[in-house]
Subunit: 214 residues, 2 copies
């Protein structure tokens, strides 16, 4: 998934991806999460062993078990941090000042930027949900429900203020989130657009979807 070059240049992984884990301590636990994200993204969750992850982090399997009891616990931590971040971004935009169009722009720009800048992490977070245990999966589904509610709230506000014209609010909410999330699949750091440029393009397209100003 294109992380090999970054890993060679920067021990401990792509600095952009690693920056997502600043809150994880101690440093060894953080290093293991970064290694797990890279391994899951390159080979898939099921093809990755805890031994692979420990090796990438330059640690022994025994040292890994001090921090994480199972491979699923690593995936859950990654998924939880990623989904918490997504929810903070979207709720902060929904709670912001300005018109519904301003808040929707803010939500799309920051959500797209996150999925572009952290595309390796985002792919793991978005594609490996089925590998979570039932309890962890239910917890993540609830965070996703709240992310959906944040966007729906902005669109609702826009419709009530006669700023937007949206016949199907749940369907449009789904499409807005889906459009932003899929950035993680196609975004290429060597591509022609920066994360901010994709954010600006997508904010314009989403305002058209809700017929803002029409």
């Amino acid at each position: 998934m294109g992380t090999a070059e970054a890993t060679e240049e920067t021990p401990g992984g792509d600095p952009n991806e690693a920056s997502a884990w600043g809150e994880v301590a101690p440093e060894a636990a953080r290093r293991l999460l970064v290694a797990a994200v890279e391994a899951f993204a390159e080979r898939g969750y099921h093809a990755t062993t805890t031994r692979d992850i420990a090796g990438r982090a330059g640690m022994s399997p025994a040292a890994l078990y001090i921090h994480y009891k199972t491979k699923e616990e690593l995936l859950h931590r990654i998924s939880r941090i990623g989904h918490d971040k997504a929810l903070r971004i979207l709720e902060s935009a929904a709670d912001g000042a300005g018109t519904a169009a301003d808040r929707l722009t803010d939500a799309v720009v920051t959500f797209v930027r996150w999925h572009a800048a952290h595309h390796t992490t985002a792919r793991v977070v978005q594609y490996e949900l089925d590998a979570l245990g039932d309890e962890h999966r239910a917890e993540i589904v609830e965070l996703r429900r709240r992310s959906d509610a944040a966007i729906r709230r902005i669109i609702n506000d826009g419709v009530e203020a006669h700023e937007f014209d949206v016949p199907d609010i749940p369907g449009t909410t789904l499409a807005v989130l889906s459009l932003c999330i899929d950035v993680a699949r196609w975004f290429n750091v060597e591509g022609r657009r920066t994360p901010d440029e994709v954010g600006a393009l997508y904010a314009d397209l989403v305002l058209r979807m809700v017929a803002a100003g029409a």
Copy 2:
């Protein structure tokens, strides 16, 4: 990925997914492709062995090798058939009669319907590109370039005919394809919308993105 129930009911897999492979003969080769799609979707390409695939198809590993020399050859066949189908859908819409809005609607409705009805296959086709060998990957990238060109042609025609108002044609093309492709990630056969309903919703949203009739 939710194929377990379908497999129990229907030996040989979900009939919706299996219908994508009608052109593959003999029947044993087709059965192996369907088994490979299910295994790749459930466990990922790297965690799946040719032995797993043969077992799912009720065949011996030796019988598999009569039809496919390597696991990568199976993935390539799946990806090739999926991308050929996508290209046929999009070029047929681009070559169709009617206004640019009619042709764009046709493209979105049929492309979304394929990604919803064949979501298991589509996930493998869309997410396992990096596992292809260099030559096969280049072949698939070329098919994707042509799919992109089909949508871009419709949008260009609409702009030239003053039907659409699109400041960034390549970016809008990318977003339209991305929106349709991501249906494979979230679509749930037990969800509230049928493939046709998602197609109709998305066609409306895409016409808004190009400001058709504005």
